[in-house]
Amino acid sequence: MERRAEAPPPQGLDFTVENVEKALHQLYYDPNIENKNLAQKWLMQAQVSPQAWHFSWLLLNMDKVPEIQYFGASALHIKISRYWNDIPADQYETLKSQLFTHITRFASGSKIVLTRLCVALASLALSMMPEAWPCAVADMVRMFQAEDSNVDGRARCLALLELLTVLPEEFQTSRLPQYRKGQVRSVLAQECGSVFPLLEQLLQQQDSPGFIKQKVLKCFSSWVQLEIPLMDCENLIQAAFTSLRDPELFDTAVEAVVNAISQPDAQRYVNTLLKLIPPVLGLQEQLRQAVQSGDMETSHGICRIAVALGENHSRALLDQVEHWQSFLALVNMIMFCTGIPGHYPVNETTSSLTLTFWYTLQDDILSFEPDKQAVYQQVYRPVYFQLVDVLLHKAQFPSDEEYGFWSSDEKEQFRIYRVDISDTLMYVYEMLGAELLSSLYDKLGRLLTNTEQPSTWQHTEALLYGFQSIAETIDVNYSDVVPGLIGLIPRISISNVQLADTVMFTIGALSEWLADHPVMINNVLPLVLQALGNPELSISSVSTLKKICRECKYDLPPYAANIVAVSQEVLMKQIHKTSQCMWLMQALGFLLSALQVEEILKNLHSLITPYIQQLEKLADETPNPSNKLAIIHILGLLSNLFTTLDISHHDDDHESTEVKKLPVQQGPNPVVVVLQQVFQLIQKVLSKWMNDAQVVESVCAIFEKSVKTLLDDFAPMVPQLCEMLGQMYSTIPQASAIDLTRQLVHIFAHEPAHFPPIKALFLLVTSVTLTLFQQGPRDHPDIVDSFMQLLAQALKRKPDLFLCSNLDVKAVFQCGVLSLKFPEAPTVKASCGFFTELLPRCGEIAPVGQVVHENGKVLLQAVLEGVGGQASRSLMDHFAEILFALNKHCFSYLSVWIKEAMQEDGFPSARVSPEQKETFSQQILRERVNKRRVKEMVKEFTLLCRGLHGTEYTADY
């Protein structure tokens, strides 16, 4: 039978025991979720009500169920921790003794209720100490050790340990004021004298059961975080080391030791730290056994301890010169952990814990003054060379068979692990310098020339990976082993994709070196071109070719024909995915840039003719999704080619390339020649695809990229491009067309020769967009965004555009105001940018001045609405800019407008009072110099308007 849902507790119900119990019943058992929610809300009110002091004790009655008792205990904790000031001082003692009584009673009762009661007593103790309760901790220990209680001793002991464990935890999360926090912390730290002997005794007692010892270790972990002097913890740390032998206690003991060693203050107690080294070293046998038996938990735990000591205190321990051997032994133990057998992350996960230690140790060594550093280097250079071997061993791929069984998640973790190793090696180079590269080179040489013992591909790959890790970020130009390495690369028998990838990436990492040593290009280029035909090596081979073409373009002309031919072939065979095809085109753009114009044209012709033909065919077809993709692909190839094809060399910064530079060409730029040739075809494509935003975007991208690279060389194309853009935009308005218009305005509007077509285009775009606004612009926030940016650009580069008689400045202004109210933040930002550019022109451009003076109040209202809470808080700086500009350029108007606007009740927010509005208005009107101040005022006012002022949530706003 379906149970009828009980009625929810009415809001006005008294907070009595019965009602609380009823609500709890609903909270736990009512099938109706709404009733549950109501009960929950009511119970939260009950918990903080004054009546809670009364009903919570009754709820703790032993005949109640644990859910009800728990609520009682929890309500007590909340009252004590949050409403401390409600309690009269003369009731502290009663409260204390009541809590003690209940804790004793629950020592053998429900565990969750016991913990809550302990937390409540802990909270009470923290609020009372030290004045009202001087020896709180000692009292607690004494109370529970009293023999006269009728509760069984073991249960009392557990209850005491629970109380002592939650006390420091409650301290860490308590809301004590800062000055009290320091005071209470030092009192607690002193009181460890009452706790630690008890814990020691319990740990050392032979007959203490495991669960008690576990509790003791947890309690110790909790106490060490109170900044207790390390030497006071020494005995317990040693006892925790002993506990590591007990499998049942192992995890808790590791936690305790690591917590004790890692506390920041510990470094002040060097003698104690030194005493901890032998017990850590003493764990080596246990570690070895764990590794042998594949016990990952144990090896992980021991490694954490060794690393905690090494990582946190390497500087302090290194300073103890007379103990150098014992520290070196610790370092060697950590080395063992780094090199732990097996593959990460399948057979082991420990080795990754150690990597940060090696950074820290190196930093500490390198921070010594030169004389001292030299001594340490003598000891630690061999260690770091050994580390390189160990890391490269760990970076090796497993056998193909094994790797095949790994999940994709494991493969990804292994990749991340290798990147971490790579970062470590790069850092180690700082310490070992060029010798590191020579050692890698020697090893690789021996491996590849050893005919007796064939090497595994994994070994070769790892060595190359190490080399690449360093060469990728560090300048290896002065290394004398690179030529040898490049000589070795062709000897590698590339039997495997991973190895081939690493070979490619290594060549890529050396591309800058190749630019300085062009004679070596021929040694590696054939390998790259060969790899280009392998789809499995797509990313590595294409990116390497691109790097080489970018860095070495002036030395590539002899190879250009071959590179173009191979690239063309792989493009035609469709070996690579779209993005790699795009990279390849960029590579070819770099390559062609260094050729003579006629050579460029010849290559361009052969390179793009097949695509042009294909595009012609596609342009004749009826639009469908598959030919759309093909069109976008071809247009993308062209844009990427034109992104890097730059014969002007205006941004070359190669020092030695002066002599190699070609003289600046006379006559048309080859890119312009090609663009003009394909212009009609592009128009034809557009005529069919005008409605499609993606195709239009791809077309615009070609011109956008070309303009960016060609700059003034693009000039011959301006008239026809303006015309095409005008046609496009008046047929179907698209944001990308406005963006391209903006770029043309930016680059060419100030040149008299180009002004007429650009002006015509600007006026056309504006008038079409205004029509769009009349129809409802909400569907096109992107167009509005781009339009606002165009207007701002026009005002910046060529304000004269606003003098045209057929530009409706008033309509443009109103559109700007509308855009300020859009929900899309970028659009609002763009319109703020427009007004920030417009307002300073009030004086110089009459139509602008007139419109602003007549309509400025509407703008101000929109700005205040935004500040009042309608716009995102992150936009406030931009709104402040408008207010600042209004104040600077239309002061007399602003003072009237702001008064009028603020008079309206509840505007811009019902949360601000007339006084607050008045203050804000005065502040704004007064500040005409310091923009930062205006931004601060706006921020403060917006918080008031949103009801967020003074909350911790917005403290950092």
């Binding site: 990749r415 294409v542 990116s543 933040a825 992150s874 009801g947 949530y953 950092d956």
Partner: protein, 109 residues
Amino acid sequence: MAYQLYRNTTLGNSLQESLDELIQSQQITPQVALQVLLQFDKAINSALAQRVRNRVNFRGSLNTYRFCDNVWTFVLNDVEFREVTELVKVDKVKIVACDGKNTGSNTAE
């Protein structure tokens, strides 16, 4: 405590916008919003420290540097960023950096 510098990202801003709305419509209190924000700080710090291994190299000439309150600030001129395949040149870059070791890993869960 996790760094708060990621609050001023698209993700952080969007979160704060949503929290603002929830506070203004009185669906949550500012205290709850603060807890959410602190949780965001923790999560994004740990995610960026643990889950991201993408690398971008860059070089440029160092104009100014300072180290104040454990925050490094570098202003670089003429900087080249190199990712696997992209090279981006920028006139001026300001880098604000905090110690990654202090985040994520050592906060007690």
